[in-house]
């Protein structure tokens, strides 16, 4: 059972991690989650790793298709 009240436990943080990284949590959820990770080194590491991985994935996904279209498609004929 995932808690919807503070204090958040580790499993509450894991459950909400993706939403947190995507800035889809409500303000009070963000606050409760941050309160937990300030006190929990394991969850702080988890969040940091997940954030960095997402950034790396986004960077490589975008980089590899940049400029992929030919000029013919770019110009309305």
């Amino acid at each position: 059972m995932i808690s919807d009240t503070p204090p958040y436990r580790c499993k509450d943080v894991r459950e909400r991690l993706d939403d947190y990284l995507d800035q889809e949590l409500l303000p009070h959820e963000i606050q409760w989650l941050r309160e937990h990770i300030e006190a929990c080194r394991a969850c702080a590491t988890l969040c940091q790793c997940a954030y960095e991985e997402l950034a790396e994935m986004r960077a490589v996904v975008q980089k590899e298709t940049r400029g992929g279209l030919t000029n013919e498609t770019r110009v309305l004929r």
């Binding site: 991985e53 997402l54 790396e56 992929g68 309305l76």
Partner: protein, 188 residues
């Protein structure tokens, strides 16, 4: 409110969207030629329907919605029935077992920067491991800064369905991309 359709006006809206559209098309079709064709066909369709576009609304989302519909019609051969697109069961991730996905944070020693060494074919290959509806959602997510609600609007599915597909899809992508890196560099 209708507006006069001129190539110049259309081009003004279109130009900032093309890179994102191509990226989404590339990772959705997993093929450069198909992606270019899909974008071209969407450009034609968008131009013919441009008079119905509301100038104050989001052209990017409108254009991508047209493209997703075209992909469903032409590349999946199953029409644009939203019920089908949104109704796929949770078990529709046949290739990668979500339970097999590496728990994040338990592998902090993995050299994340090596993900950038993957080339476009490897990334396309990772996307191709996902079912089509997951590929679409993940491609939209990674190619742009869309919120869940905006992605849901583009794909025509409820936000919760979109959210679930995105979370599961990107965990699966992470798993495949990490595996590719490990194989490239003979990592444990």
């Amino acid at each position: 409110m209708s507006h006069s359709v001129t190539p110049e006006l259309f081009q003004t809206y279109l130009a900032p969207v093309l890179d994102t559209a191509y990226g989404v098309a590339f990772y959705t079709t997993s093929h450069g030629g198909d992606a270019e064709r899909l974008v071209e066909e969407t450009v034609v369709r968008a131009y013919t329907r441009f008079s119905s576009f509301q100038p104050r609304s989001n052209f990017r989302a409108w254009f991508l919605r047209l493209m997703v519909d075209l992909f469903r019609c032409q590349y999946q051969g199953r029409g644009s029935e939203q019920e089908l697109a949104c109704g796929e069961a949770a078990a529709d991730l046949p290739v990668i077992d979500p339970m097999d996905v590496e728990p994040r944070g338990q592998s902090s020693e993995f050299p994340l920067q090596l993900l950038r060494k993957l080339d476009r074919q490897q990334i396309a290959s990772a996307f191709s491991e996902l079912p089509a509806e997951y590929r679409i959602v993940c491609a939209l997510y990674f190619m742009d800064e869309f919120s869940y609600a905006e992605i849901a609007d583009v794909v025509g599915c409820p936000v919760e369905v979109t959210r679930s597909r995105l979370h599961r899809g990107r965990k699966a992508l992470s798993h495949v991309m990490r595996t590719q890196v490990r194989e490239m560099y003979s990592l444990a």
